[in-house]
């Protein structure tokens, strides 16, 4: 602070007269100033202070000295000019730090705080703390320093980017679309608009970086990435993108920065597998084997078996190098790492400068320098890579492709070269597969752009699962990437599609299950005709005429009709086709003219009638699907049912019917004909016969007779004589036994008085033929020696005895005949004739 001596000096200066009159001598000027102030007294006026300050300014100019600065600071403070006071104190401190008192330091520190110049304030407080003899002052200064350190660090952290206005976002979205579509000029224009609308817009900087990268303008791309990072230092994609570009730069510092950026990116996303691998490769190339080993191990922990195999050799090599380092031995020889700098760099830089000018002459000149760079260092990949970009600008696509291929040959790990090549190939029709391959290699080299491109390609080709996996990888590695929004939408869409697909699959599976159950139930459920009729042979009597009708009207007519109809329809004559179609229409479907249902409705009706019969027994017949005898008929009906349209068309305008339709009709007719041929009506009848027939033999009837005698308490049954062949009747066993129980009972009842032992019963069987139809008839005559009169009327008439009535009714129901005839043999009085349909014998009579 200003001391009493100073004030005296000021007063003295004021007494010395005008400073302008003073000689050009610093010390004299200072003395004059001091005297002037001294003359002014304890409280010099403003004019005196001003004059003294001017004198010291001149003295400081003539001879800068800490003492002059300090004096001048005192005068400035006295004049209330704290700003100049501080400046002068700072000046003095710079010249002689020790010259400042604690008070001066404190003043400077406060001034720096007021200016939010935290570093300067911290510096003043540190000087104060160092110089302070008082421990309390030192501690206070230290606390002040800690607080200001935080302030300083906070100041270094950039403020979050302002939310860009909607119009900027819309324009940037257009830029992205244009970039994705390859319309680079439009993309650049839109990016420019977005950046003007929202300065410092990090997304716009990232898109710009992507655009510059695609156009081969590496420095501009680097600048754009830096801009993005300046606004958003943790921006993963910017870190990765910038690292990739810098790693490809020839100078060492760029590679160091690339490694640092890669580490920052990995710190942000340690789960980014491809980045782990990239980091490992770069660290290995840089010579940092331990770090490379740690990274490759981290990568391999999450890698697929194939990826592990691919990195096995690298891992072993790194492990050997680390072992050697730890043991102090000489590291084993490894392939020499590429030079971090190249003699071709200068030529490349000149070429870059020409490329920025972008005029045709400059581009040509750039190519010249790049050729020279390649000649100087064929392994310097950036040179052919930039040459490729120049050729692209000139529209020389094949030359561009060759240049990129040279770049890849020079450095197969260079992602940018693959990306350039892939972008170039994508634009050329027919080279999609080559482009995909280039993208795959770019992806292996760590390109997130390649992930996006491969995902897009997979999505276009319908490989949804692969696309989804690639999109997810991109999103994982570049969550704020250029394509992040697009990828997010694609993931949502694919996942939605997948969910829908899964839903559809679930619904389809459920539907299939239901359908399967229905089909299974229809196919395997229910009973066959044979199963039913064997368990309910009494139904044979009702089923037989239905089956007979089916055989005659459906099977027979189907066979007669269909094969020949198919042949006739194959003839090109329209009239033949017309007649045939008309005939088929009348035979297959309903026909008023023929007064008969068509083959198909008759088939359906007979099936329904059989099913109704079975249903009455609690059975569900599965004739259509399970029954080997009937299912061909059902399938033939199904083959024929859809033909009515085509046949109607053929019957009306055969020439207009396309041959394809005709062939379809013929095919179905042939199929139905074949099915009808496979049906054996005789087998169906045989099944009924076998199920419902009853053998006519002595032992069975003897048993029936014995039971009757037992019921009537007649003792031992009379001997039953049998004459004639054994056969089988088309009467179910129950009915057959009922008939004979009544016959025997009536015979024994009629015997009356005679003891049973005197009753003589004989059975005389004969297989007859119906004289008209030729059908087999089983005639069984029960002969007895009972003289009680019996007539046919007594058996068949209305007033028949209950027993005879049952017999007559049962026989009639089986299309049989009950009659009374003469004794068939001596020793008998009469014969009761029973004629019922017989099962056709297997061997000739």
């Amino acid at each position: 602070m200003i001391g009493a001596t100073g004030l005296v000096a000021l007063v003295a200066l004021s007494v010395l007269g005008a400073p302008d009159d003073c000689p050009e001598d610093a010390a004299t000027l200072a003395s004059a100033a001091d005297a002037l102030v001294a003359r002014a007294g304890a409280r010099p006026d403003a004019a005196a202070l001003e004059r003294a300050r001017r004198l010291y300014r001149r003295a400081r100019v003539l001879s800068p000295q800490p003492s002059f600065s300090l004096r001048a600071a005192d005068l400035a403070c006295a004049a209330g000019d704290e700003e100049e006071c501080g400046d002068l104190l700072s000046e003095a401190a710079e010249m002689s730090p020790a010259a400042l008192s604690s008070g001066d330091r404190l003043l400077l520190a406060h001034r720096a705080e007021a200016r939010r110049a935290w570093r300067e304030a911290i510096s003043q407080y540190q000087a104060l703390r160092t110089a302070a003899a008082d421990a309390g002052l030192s501690s206070w200064a230290q606390e002040r320093i800690r607080r200001l350190e935080v302030e300083a660090e906070a100041q270094a952290i950039p403020a979050p980017a302002a939310v860009p206005p909607p119009e900027a976002r819309l324009v940037l979205a257009e830029a992205r679309r244009a970039l994705a579509a390859g319309d680079l000029s439009k993309a650049r224009e839109r990016i420019g608009i977005a950046r003007r609308l929202s300065p410092g817009y990090p997304e716009a900087a990232l898109v710009l970086a992507a655009l510059e990268t695609r156009e081969g303008r590496v420095p501009e791309a680097i600048q754009a990435y830096r801009e993005a990072l300046s606004t958003d230092p943790a921006r993963f994609e910017a870190l990765v993108g910038l690292a990739n570009l810098l790693w490809d730069e020839p100078d060492r510092s760029a590679k160091e920065e690339a490694l640092s950026l890669t580490d920052r990116a990995l710190a942000a996303r340690p789960d980014a597998a491809s980045l782990q691998k990239t980091s490992a490769l770069r660290s290995a190339e840089w010579g940092d084997a331990p770090k490379a080993l740690a990274r490759i191990d981290a990568y391999r922990r999450r890698a697929s078996p194939e990826e592990k195999r691919a990195t096995e050799a690298l891992r072993e090599s790194l492990a050997r190098r680390v072992d050697a380092l730890l043991s102090g031995a000489t590291p084993p020889e490894e392939p020499s790492a590429p030079e971090l700098s190249s003699p071709a760099v200068d030529e490349w830089k000149v070429a870059q400068a020409y490329v920025r000018r972008a005029d045709p002459a400059s581009l040509a000149a750039a190519l010249g320098h790049l050729r020279e760079a390649e000649r100087i260092d064929p392994t310097f990949a950036p040179a052919p890579e930039l040459a490729g970009a120049v050729h692209e600008k000139r529209g020389e696509l094949s030359l561009a492709q060759k240049a990129y291929e040279r770049a890849i040959a020079a450095d197969p790990t260079r992602a940018a070269a693959y990306e350039h090549l892939a972008f170039l190939l994508v634009r050329q029709p027919g080279k999609e597969a080559d482009a995909d391959e280039a993208w795959r290699r770019a992806e292996q080299a760590g390109s997130s752009e390649a992930l996006f491109a491969l995902a897009e390609s997979a999505a276009r080709k319908g490989r949804r699962g692969e696309a989804l996996a690639l999109y997810r990888r991109y999103f994982g590695e570049s969550p704020g990437g250029v394509h992040a929004e697009e990828v997010s939408r694609s993931i949502e869409k694919l996942e939605s599609g997948r969910r829908t697909s899964l839903g559809v699959v679930a619904v389809a599976a459920a539907a299939l299950l239901v359908i399967g159950s229905v089909v299974g139930y229809r196919r395997f459920g229910g009973r066959t005709f044979e199963e039913w009729i064997r368990e309910h042979p009494a139904r044979a009597r009702e089923a037989r005429p239905i089956v007979g009708r089916l055989r005659h009207e459906v099977v027979k007519h189907g066979g007669l009709l269909l094969a020949d109809a198919a042949k006739r329809l194959s003839e090109p004559d329209p009239e033949v086709r017309r007649w045939t179609a008309e005939l088929l229409l009348s035979r297959l479907y309903e026909s008023e003219e023929s007064k008969r249902d068509g083959l198909i409705p008759q088939s359906y009706e007979t099936f329904m009638r059989l099913k109704a019969l079975a249903r009455a027994d609690g059975y569900r017949l599965n004739l259509e699907h399970k029954d080997p005898l009937f299912s061909p008929i059902a399938r033939a009906g199904m083959a024929l049912a859809p033909l009515s349209g085509g046949l109607t068309w053929l019957s009306m305008d055969p020439e207009a019917v396309p041959e394809r339709i005709v062939r379809g009709v013929i095919g179905r007719l042939e199929r139905a004909a074949a099915l009808f041929r496979s049906v054996s009506g005789a087998n169906i009848s045989r099944v009924i016969d076998e199920a419902s027939s009853t053998p006519v033999n002595l032992s069975d009837l003897q048993d029936v007779l014995a039971r009757v005698c037992a019921e009537k308490r007649l003792g031992s049954p009379p001997t039953l004589e049998w004459r004639g062949p054994q056969m089988a009747v088309r009467v179910d066993r129950a009915d057959w036994e009922t008939i004979w129980r009544n016959l025997f009972a009536n015979a024994l009842d009629s015997a009356g008085a005679p003891p049973v032992s005197e009753v003589r019963l004989g059975l005389f069987s004969e297989l007859l033929r119906d004289p008209i139809t030729g059908a087999a008839i089983a005639q069984v005559v029960l002969a007895d020696n009972v003289s009680t009169p019996l007539t046919a009327e007594m058996i068949r008439g209305r007033g028949a005895d209950r027993g005879w009535g049952v017999i007559a009714d049962l026989v009639r129901r089986h299309d049989g005949l009950a009659d009374v005839g003469p004794a068939p043999a001596p020793g008998y009085v009469k014969g009761i004739v029973i004629e019922v349909p017989a099962v056709e014998p297997e061997r000739p009579e």
Partner: protein, 166 residues
């Protein structure tokens, strides 16, 4: 050109006649003349009026009036215990056999006769019927109409089977 052979088709509908007419190959169709009779009376009149070379008989006649069904009505009604409807049904379902029985005497024994019945499981039945109609054959299920005609024509050409009114 050889004179067409006459085939008498006895059926209550027109299915067989039309099938013969429309479904057999043109050359085969050209070699035959089809005469249809819907019942016993028509058939008898036809046989009285003209010569036939072959006969095709349907079996089931359920589309003609019951009184036109040939057969021993009284005997059948008696057989079925007075049940006329049952007798009628029996006659309709077996009318082909009754027609064969009634008409066989009206055509020469040697002409081929086909009845639309499958005897494949009942050979003895066919044998029994052949005692009265030696040239009778059945119609196996699934046989196309062209095969029926071919069979008839083969029999016709294998010998002089032509016959006229008795």
């Amino acid at each position: 050109m050889r004179e067409p052979r006459t085939i008498l088709v006895i059926e209550d509908g027109t299915e067989y006649t039309e099938a013969f007419r429309n479904l057999v190959a043109a050359d085969a169709a050209a070699s035959i003349e089809l005469v249809r009779a819907a019942d016993f009376e028509e058939a008898r009149n036809t046989l009285a009026d003209r010569t036939v070379d072959a006969v095709f008989l349907d079996v089931v006649f359920d589309r003609i009036a019951p009184e036109k069904l040939a057969g021993d009505w009284e005997g059948l009604i008696r057989r079925f215990g007075g049940d006329r409807r049952r007798a009628e049904r029996h006659l309709a379902e077996n009318q082909g056999f009754y027609l064969l029985n009634e008409l066989a005497s009206l055509w020469p024994e040697r002409i081929p006769v086909v009845i639309a019945y499958d005897f494949s499981a009942e050979p003895e039945r066919l044998a029994a019927l052949r005692r009265r109609s030696p040239q009778l054959s059945g119609l196996a299920d699934g046989t196309p109409i062209s095969a029926v005609l071919e069979s008839l024509l083969t029999k016709l050409t294998s010998g002089d089977t032509r016959g006229g009114p008795p």
